[in-house]
């Protein structure tokens, strides 16, 4: 019974088509599988290549920019540290204030440091105020101009100059001294390198010309014998 059903379906006409149809179907299925997998693999590889090429270009640009930095700019790295130090520069500013007061014939009568605080811009700030006897207004202007262009950086917040009862000019100046922590880590290697903008270059030139405080280096002394160890 079964044999006769097979014979009915698998007639010689069908049998002659069965071979090529099965081969054709097999090829089509294989073709679809290869195309599908191949396409997705190539797509993945293309996107990986794009990413790696981008990173490569970024690194190349960064390297080129690092090699192209003019040496003059790098020499200013110590100047900017003096202009904006990482420790409270109050004493240095007082020393600068005294120096410029002397140079401009001002006599410093009182000086005060107070209110150390942190600002929102990762800066620390301290207020300084000084009282002066001033010979004339021109000396006061020259003194202020010296203060504006001196390192460490300070801002002049308020100034009052008045005639005293005795007829002499007296001034009171309020300034702020600033300092900030140093950056502690380098950005990731593949992060793009940002060059100095025109404004930053101008600012660098300006602060590099600020008059620097005078530091005294004590010469090393040779150890000697103390005759009286209690003195």
């Amino acid at each position: 019974m079964k044999m006769s059903l097979f014979r009915k379906i698998l007639t010689p006409n069908i049998m002659v088509l069965l071979g090529p149809i099965s081969v054709l179907l097999g090829v089509i299925i294989l073709f679809v599988i290869i195309l599908n997998n191949g396409y997705s693999q190539i797509k993945t590889q293309l996107s990986t290549l794009k990413t790696t090429r981008n990173s490569e270009n970024q690194l190349q640009t960064k390297l080129d920019k690092l090699k192209d930095i003019p040496p003059g700019i790098l020499d200013n790295s110590s100047d900017v540290i003096v202009v904006l130090p990482y420790k409270n520069p109050g004493i240095l500013i007082i020393s600068q204030m005294r120096l410029y007061a002397n140079n401009n014939s001002l006599s410093l009568s009182k000086i005060e440091l107070k209110n150390a605080s942190k600002t929102n811009d990762q800066l620390a700030k301290m207020q300084l105020s000084g009282e002066f006897d001033i010979p004339n207004f021109l000396s006061a202007v020259n003194f202020l101009k010296n203060m504006i262009s001196s390192a460490p950086i300070s801002t002049l917040d308020e100034l009052t100059i008045k005639l005293s009862q005795a007829g002499a000019l007296e001034g009171e100046l309020k300034t702020s001294a600033y300092w900030a922590d140093l950056p502690t880590q380098l950005p990731p290697l593949n992060e793009p390198f940002r060059e100095l903008t025109k404004e930053e270059q101008d600012l660098l030139t300006k602060v590099a010309n600020f008059s620097q405080p005078e530091f005294t280096t004590l010469p090393p002394t040779t150890p000697g014998q103390r005759e009286n160890p209690f003195k």
């Binding site: 010689p12 088509l17 190539i42 790098l74 801002t155 600033y178």
Partner: protein, 174 residues
Amino acid sequence: MSVNLLPQELRPKGSYVKLSKTLKKFALVSTIVMLVTSSVVLASYLLLRYQISSSIKKQDELKGNIKALEQTEQKMILIKDRLDKIGKIEKSDNINKGVGILEDVLGTLEENVFLEEVELKPANAQVVIVTGNSLELTHFLSKLMSQVKLVRIDLVSLEYGPTKGYEMKLSLSR
């Protein structure tokens, strides 16, 4: 001479044999196309793999070169960090403009016109001018307006006393 011993009903019809031959040709062509496509896909895949690996190799080389310039980068990061903060300090309220105004006002003073008091604040500069007569006062004001670059001049007060003369308080902003 071939002799067909199969019964006639077991032989496929001529049209089916023809169709079978066509299908065989199709199968052959499809196989060739599939083999060519597979080769192209495989070659592209291998080429891309090669390009990726050489790009990664180049990246490693570049990273090494950048590492060698670490000191330069450190200095630049430091300079940028300081400049960024110095820029913020420079933009904060200060009397730098006021110092310029005071210098210019001093330049406009004449023989019998005196500057008696100065108060510099971030918003403005206040000066007290004393002079013996009103003519000199007028002359000073016209000189101030023409020679000093100012955005605004406010007369805060004007007093007269027989011994002191005219005392004028001005608020100046640039």
